[in-house]
């Protein structure tokens, strides 16, 4: 695994910090903080594994810049109705693939649980993050994130980002 061995420790640390904040920001309803983990020219997509394996381009969510992420958050905050719940993301260890076009390539598995306001928890989604990260002054920022959801059959609806 020479590619993996070549990943500088500071990059590994920055990616671990990023993924930890990514999950906690979502789970603590700090969606604006979550959006600040992305670059202005980011690309964020949620797709299903079913579509990916059939090479079909359909998306559940596609924001091709950070303004669209903020629009979605604002819509979620003020416009949309959804099942009231708390989120919990459990993100696995990142797998590093080195650098391509200046972006550090990383994959990590996730599980996302939802708990309703009476405390009942269900497994909501499992899948994989595929990210291209930019290192800026020792901090990792997301230039591209594709959430490939194994759970293509979305229970109820998908409101808070994965």
């Amino acid at each position: 695994m020479s590619v993996t061995a070549a990943i500088p420790q500071e990059v590994r640390n920055a990616v671990a910090d990023l993924l930890a904040e990514y999950g906690m920001a979502l789970d603590q309803d700090r969606l604006e903080d979550w959006a600040s983990l992305f670059t202005d020219d980011c690309d964020y997509r949620v797709i299903s594994r079913e579509n990916e394996e059939q090479n079909l381009p359909n998306v559940m969510i596609w924001c091709d810049n950070r303004a669209m992420l903020l629009d979605r958050i604002e819509s979620y905050r003020h416009v949309n109705e959804y099942n009231l719940h708390w989120d919990r993301h459990v993100i696995g260890l990142p797998r590093h693939f080195g650098q391509v076009d200046g972006l550090w390539q990383v994959e990590a598995s996730y599980s996302a649980f939802q708990t309703d306001l009476e405390g009942a928890t269900r497994l909501f989604s499992v899948g994989r993050y595929r990210m291209g990260l930019l290192m800026v002054s020792g901090i990792a920022r997301i230039r591209s994130a594709v959430v490939v959801a194994d759970t293509g059959l979305i229970p109820t609806l998908l409101a808070t980002p994965l």
Partner: protein
């Protein structure tokens, strides 16, 4: 079967809550509606373009294989092995020269014929099936298939009205509209809603909720009740079509109409990125919202430049899957394909204008379950009595039309029931 409904009113303006929660009703629906004398959406022809291509779909709770044979003809047959009732085709889609049940390797052709039984003649003269065993006599049930301009429908009934008569005037003309040139499949989305399938069927016929529940529509002006549009039904009032014309109201009209409506505020916000709201005119009729809905469980829907079908798949009395197929056209430019995909943000399980349906149906299902005997839903928006088309969209009349045809098929029409 001794199945009766205690209709309060013969115009279906009251719907008993128990009809959404009763296992026996559900089983009877599978028999009398989904295996009954009408046509059911299967999939799109563009999903099975080549010889050997297949897809599995559902008619009610029955798994059905749609496949194209070597000669190019399309077939639909029940995905259940003749031998022990096991699932034959376990994949969602693919291409195969034949289909083999893994249990005892019984083999089926793309047209659903039983073509191979291992050890049928026995082994070294011992065992095997009786000499007079007839594979044809036990082959999987086949559906009659109708390909209407690239939209595939199937029926278990040996005789029923033609697909043209079933779809009716706007049904046939709207399918021709959507399928006027070769389409390209963009992909799928799936949503599991914990509610009875009829709640979703009603939701598709309830234009009253659209601009109230789906606040994104109103806030950002994608669709408002003040736009020119309306609701059409077919002669039997079993199908309906919600439609609206782009840019046919003003912000002032909308502001006046929604003044005082709790939870709905116009002009509060503006999208930072406006491309979600961009509509590129692409149909001569000028509609930016067109949604022909077919009894019992399918819809073709245009919201601006997103085009797709939605298929309601009942998954037991308490659950349904919404299976959505998004498409564009083969001659779309790369920019148009990108635009359609960006607008996919509006629809589907995470759709900014559609996500609420999942929650609305779940809360309606959850608490109507415990309603006391004799309690019912109130369906009077748009009027009581006869079923009429309306040149506006503040109506639930198509819901009453749904129940009228449901009652006919289920054999429970009330005395003097409207049709």
């Amino acid at each position: 079967m001794g199945f009766q409904v205690d209709w309060e009113r013969s115009d279906y303006s009251r719907i008993p809550h128990w009809l959404y929660h009763d296992e026996a009703v559900y089983r009877l629906e599978m028999e009398r509606i989904f295996r009954g004398p009408l046509w059911h959406y299967l999939c799109l022809e563009a999903e099975v373009p080549n010889p050997g291509d297949f897809r599995t779909t559902w008619v009610g709770d029955t798994s059905v294989v749609v496949s194209r044979d070597r000669g190019g003809d399309l077939h639909a047959w029940v995905n259940r092995c003749s031998h022990r009732g096991a699932t034959i085709v376990r994949k969602v889609q693919g291409n195969a020269t034949d289909h083999v049940c893994i249990y005892h390797r019984w083999c089926y052709s793309p047209n659903g014929d039983l073509t191979g039984i291992p050890f049928r003649r026995g082994l070294k003269g011992e065992g095997g099936m009786p000499a007079d065993f007839s594979p044809a006599s036990v082959a999987p049930s086949k559906l009659r298939l109708a390909n209407f301009h690239g939209v595939l429908f199937g029926t278990f009934a040996e005789t029923c009205e033609s697909i043209e008569d079933f779809l009716g005037e706007f049904g046939t003309s709207m399918i021709r509209r959507f399928m006027h040139k070769p389409i390209r499949i963009l992909g799928y989305s799936r949503q599991l809603i914990h509610g009875n399938w009829k709640l979703y069927a009603e939701n598709l016929r309830d234009t009253y909720h659209a601009s109230l529940l789906h606040e994104f529509f109103v806030t950002y002006g994608v669709d408002r009740a003040t736009q020119r549009g309306g609701v059409k039904m077919d002669a039997r009032h079993r199908h309906n079509m919600n439609h609206a014309y782009a840019a046919s109201d003003t912000q002032e009209e909308a502001r006046a109409a929604y003044a005082g409506t709790a939870g709905v505020e116009l002009d509060r916000m503006r999208l930072r990125d406006q491309k979600l709201l961009q509509y590129i005119p692409e149909f001569e009729d000028g509609m930016n919202l067109a949604a022909p809905t077919f009894f019992p469980s399918s819809i073709i829907i245009q919201i601006n430049n997103t085009l797709g079908t939605r298929h309601i798949r009942p998954k037991g009395v308490d659950q349904l899957e919404v299976f959505q197929t998004l498409f564009g056209y083969e001659d779309d430019t790369p920019e148009m394909t990108r635009h359609r995909l960006v607008l996919a943000n509006l629809v589907g399980p995470a759709g900014l204008v559609s996500m609420e349906d999942g929650e609305a149906i779940e809360i309606a299902h959850r608490t109507s379950a415990s309603a006391p005997a004799g309690s019912s839903s109130v369906v009077e928006m748009g009027g009581r009595g006869p079923l009429r088309d309306l040149a506006h969209r503040v109506t639930e009349t198509p819901i009453r039309g749904f129940w009228s045809y449901w009652s006919e098929l289920m054999g429970v029409e009330p005395e003097g029931g409207v049709r």
